[in-house]
Amino acid sequence: MNYLTTIGLETHVQLKTATKMFCGCSLKFGEEPNTNVCPVCLGYPGALPVANREAIKLTVLSGLMLGCTINKHSTFDRKNYFYPDMAKDYQISQNTHPLCLGGGVTIQTPNGPKRIRINHIHLEEDAAKINHYGQFSGVDYNRGGTPLMEIVSEPDLSSPDEAMAYLQALKQILVYAGVSDCNLEEGNMRSDVNISIRPEGQEKLGTKVEIKNMNTFKGIFAAATYEIARQTYCVTHGQALVQETRRWDPDANETQSMRSKENAHDYRYFPEPDLVPVALSDEQIDAWRKELPELPSARRVRMMEEYGIPEYDAGVLADARANADFFEATAKLCGKALYKMVSNWFMVEVMRLLSETGKTIGECALTPESLAELIQLADGRVINGPTAKELLPELFEKGGMPKALVEARGLGQVSDTSALEAFVQQAIASNPKSVEDYKAGKKAAAGYFVGQVMKLSKGKADPKLVGELVARALEQ
C-alpha cells in the first residue's frame, strides 16, 4: 500500500518594525533581559494596547505580494491562556477577521510548477522568552509583544521537499518585500507543521499531527521526514494515530507527544474590546501597492531584456533584492555600453568578496557609485585590469572613490609609447636567450617580455600597448 503525505504550514514571521506590536518599546535584538519593556507589554493593570500601523502595512504588503485579498475591515481577538510567556495571560491575535485572505505561492517540483494556496495571513503579538536555569526559570519580556505575522497555508504540500521549497519561496518574497529579515537564528521565522498520511486513493485526509514551533528549515525537513515514517509505521502496524501536538527533539532526532486533542486548550477567543477594527480604504491599499517591489521571477526576465545579460546571471542577481538593486544602480551609472562588464564585475569579483567575507552587499563599504567609477576607469584604460581588481577589496572594506585613490597613488596606466619603448629595449637587452628562443620560432617567448615590461613599469603599463611594442621590437 502506498501512502500519500499531506502537509500544511503555519509560519510565524517577525515583521521588520522599529517598535512592538502594541506599545512603543524597541525591538533591538540581544539587549539585557527585561530592558525593552513598559506597562503595556508587561501587562500592568490599566495599560492598553495601540496597534502598530507599520505592522499592519507590512502585513498588507505581504498579502499583496502573495496575491491575497486584503480584508478592508479586520479585527483583533483575545486568545486566552495562562502561561508566564504571555504577560496579560491572553494573546492579542486575529481569529475571525484576519488582514489577508487567500493567495498562494508557486514552487518548483520535479513534476513542474505547483501552486501552494494560502488560507489567510493574520497579525498577532509574540510571546516572551522563557529561560530555564535548573531549579528555576526566568522570563525575558523583551521579545514579548513583537509583531508577528502568521501565514497559514492550505494542506497543499505533499512532501518535506515541497515544504522546503514553499518556505524558501516564502522567505525570498518576504525578504524581497522588506517586511522581514527572516533571520532564522534570531527566530524571525518559525513554523508549526501539520502533517498527515492517507492511503493512495483515499479522499479523506488522515489523522493530523501538529509539530510546534520549528525554527530551522533543516529541523522542519527532518521532523516531517521522521513523522511520515512514524505515521506510516503506526498505520502499517495496526497502531491507531491520535490527533495530537508533538514537539521535535533535534538531539534525539524524533518527535515527542506534547498533548492530545482531548487536552487541547480552549482559548475562549472573543473580540478584543481595547482595539477598534482596522479599516483600510481602497486608496490606502493602492498607495501601499505602489510601494511593492517586483517579484524575483519578474525581475529576472526584465533584467535579461533590459541589460542583455544571460538568464543565469539575471537569475543569480535577482535572487537577492539588495544585489539586484546594487547591480541596476551601477549599470545605470555606467551606461548601456558597459552593462555586460558591470554584470561580469558583480558576478565574479563582487560575489567572490561577498562569499569570502560572509557579508551582504548592504554591510560592505562598496557603493554603486564607487564600483561604477572603477569599471569606467578600467574601461577607459586609465588603469589596467589587474590594478582595478587590486583596488576592489579596499573599496569593499574601507570605501572611498577609486579615482581619488588612483590619483593619490599614481596608479594611472602608462600609455606613453616612448617611456614604454625604453622598458622594452631594457628587457630585450638583458634577456638575449629569450630573444634567440623567439627567433627560433618560440613565439610564446613574447609573453615573457610583456611580463618583464609590466614589472619594470610597476604594473602600470597598458598591457595591450606593451604587447604591440614587444612584437614590433622582436620582429626587427
Binding site: A51, F82, Y83, Y90, R268, F270, P273
Partner: protein, 477 residues
Amino acid sequence: MTSETLTLSTAVAGLRTRAFSSVELTQSVLKAIDEKDGQINAFLTVDAEGALKQAAAADAARAAGADGDLLGIPIAIKDIINVEGQPCTCASKMLEGYVSPYDATVTARLRKAGAVFAGRTNMDEFAMGSSTENSAFKPTCNPHDLSRIPGGSSGGSAAAVAAGTALAALGTDTGGSIRQPASFCGCVGLKPSYGRVSRYGVTAYASSLDQVGPMTKTVEDAAILLQALAGADPLDGTTARIEVPDYRAALAGGLKGVRIGLPKEYFIEGTDPEVMTHIRQAIDSCAKAGAEIVEVSLPHTEYAIAVYYIIATAEASANLARFDGVRYGHRTVSPESVFDLYAKSRAEGFGTEVKRRIILGTYVLSSGYYDAYYGRAQKVRTLIRQDFAKAFTQCDVLMTPVAPTVAYKRGEATNDPLKMYLGDIFTVPANLGGLCGLSVPCGMTHDRLPVGLQILGPAFGETMLLRVGAAYERLKV
C-alpha cells in the same frame, strides 16, 4: 475657611482672590478626613505629605501668574486609577503593596492642570459590586446613615464628597458605579459617553463598558472636572476623535424647549414608591420650567441585566487573567508548579464576588457556549443601542430613577448577588449603549436618605445633559 462647605468652583474662586492658599485648602481637607473618615472609611490611603507638596507647588505657580480651574484643588481618586508612585489596590488583596509605576491619562491630565491628589478612595474589589462591601479592606459607610451602604462600586468617592472630606472625586462607571453611589450619597455623578474619557491607566473591569467620570457636589463642578478629563488619547484607541465642547458654557441653557423622554419600561412596579414620588416631582418641575415631556419606549430593557452580566464578566475574565502572581501583586508562598502558582495566588488574592464573575465570564466564552451566551448578548446589545437611537429621535434626554431603591442597610444584599445585580437595572443600559448619564440629587426620603434623578443623553451629548442637570439644580433652590 472650611473645605467641607466649599464646592470645586467656590474653592477655585477663593484661591483666585487669595482668600486662602492651596496649602490651607489641602490642610483643611486633610483635617476633615482625619476627623471624619474613621467612621466613614471612604479612604484607603491618604498621602498628606505628597498632597501638601503638590499644593505648595500650585501656590507657587499661582503666585507666578498661573491660573486654571483645578490649579491647587484637592481631588480624591478611586483606587482603581493609576497614580505614579501611589498604591492602586483596586480594594483587592491581589494588589496589596503594589505601587503604580505610571500615571493614567486622567491622572496625567489632572496633574498637568495642577490638581492635588489627596487620597485614594475605597470601592468594591475591582469595581465589582454596588455597595462597596466587596472591598477586601473595609466597608465604607453612607454619611447620611452610617449603618447603610454608600452604593458602589465608587462608594468611597461618593461618601467622601457627601461627607465633605473631598471637594470632588473621580469614579469609574461600568454598569452604574458612578451614578448609583452618587444617588445613594446625595451628590452629582457623571458617566461620560464611552470614548469620551481615556481609560489608559484605569485598571480594566469590562473594557467595552468602563468610563471614568467626575463625582461632585454640583453639576457645575462636574462640568469643570469633565472639561479636564475629556478628549482623545493616543494611548487609548477607543477614545473618540471628537472635539471637546465648552461644558461650562452649556450650563446656562435652561429647560425651555427641551424634550424630556420618559421610557415607560423604567416606570414600573418594584421601584420604591418614595423614590418614584421624588422622580415624578422632579419631572413635573422641569415641565413647569418649559420642558416638553414625551413618553418613549426602550423595549429591550428587560434583557439589559442579563446582557450586561454576560459581556462584563466575559471581558473581566480576560482582563483579570494578568493577576497571576508572576510579575506583581500577590504571589502564593512556595508553589509546586506554574499551575499551582496561578491557582493559589488567585485563590488567595481574589474575593468571592470577583471569583464569581471570573467563573461566569470564563463559562460564557467557553467552547460550545460562546454563541448561546456571548454571541447572543452582543446581538441584544445592538438592539438595546437601537432602542436608544430611536428614543433620541423623539427627545433630547431621558429622565429615570438612578436606582429602584435608596441606600440599604449593610449586609442586606450581600447574600443575594442576584438581588444586588437587579439594583443596576436603570443604570446598566447606558453603558451597553455607550451613552452618557448624570445622577443629580432630587430630594430626601422621610428617613433622610437621598434620592437620585438619572438624566441620560445620547453618545457625546454631555452638553445637553449638563444643561438639563444644571437647570434642574437651579429649580430646587
